[in-house]
Symmetry: C2
Subunit: 160 residues, 2 copies
Amino acid sequence: MAQLDDLDRAILRLLKEDARLTISEIAEKLGRPESTIHFRIKKLQEKNVIERYTIVLGEDFRPKALGIVYIQARTPVIEDFLEKYIAHILKTLAMIPNVLLVARSGADGIVALIGGENWDKVQNFVRETVEVLPGLEKVELFPIDDFEKGDGIVGFLVDV
Amino acid sequence: MAQLDDLDRAILRLLKEDARLTISEIAEKLGRPESTIHFRIKKLQEKNVIERYTIVLGEDFRPKALGIVYIQARTPVIEDFLEKYIAHILKTLAMIPNVLLVARSGADGIVALIGGENWDKVQNFVRETVEVLPGLEKVELFPIDDFEKGDGIVGFLVDV
């Protein structure tokens, strides 16, 4: 794993805030020569510390309501079926635009982040798209209201 | 709300993949004049469709294990206390580096995304930092294993 020093961390923090900062702007903010900043950023990219550059979409394009759903499948007699069934649900959910994130959760579970225009729509989605799936043991839905930390994820995840 | 057409969406999709693409690279990919692309991006920024540019950190700098924890507070006799207590827990959790995300969940709940070197550390964190809080009704922890969609969030959220 790449070792980072204070300068690397300072550069990364600035780029996290605004990845459009120029080399000379960063150099000025950190009181270091441009050549140093240029070299460090090059290294950070080569070592995949910076994996990629992206954009965060503004409020208008983010769903107004969010929920996290936990889905637990009933353990079937044939173990192999569970595996295939979970894979199938994961793939299906991932294709739906208002499913912002979906991941496996343990051997028999799935966690997804669902967006919608309002909380009713999120609940309806879970009722009509998730709860109707056969062979589920449990479906739990938790609303996500005001973010204290990490609210950028919605603008990061949302599709256009 | 800003109306987007197909060209706007195509530009946004390219920038989401790689926000370092130059105007001329985007122009070439989309078969449109540079002046058009330049104008569209300027508008997308002005209208806050593009809120900001950022970086996603690579695998080495992401926690290896993740879990989502749902915390429900016991409803106290004095409603006002609940409000202050939830606000206090939110603030406290937000300051901890391995709490990648924390948000309010309904009137009496909190949802947080916890990272750690391995699953044991995530569980220990929840046991030692969350479950010890007084006045809780319920704490549920769901592991987040392989992402089917949205895996960039960890590299987006993680602090350096």
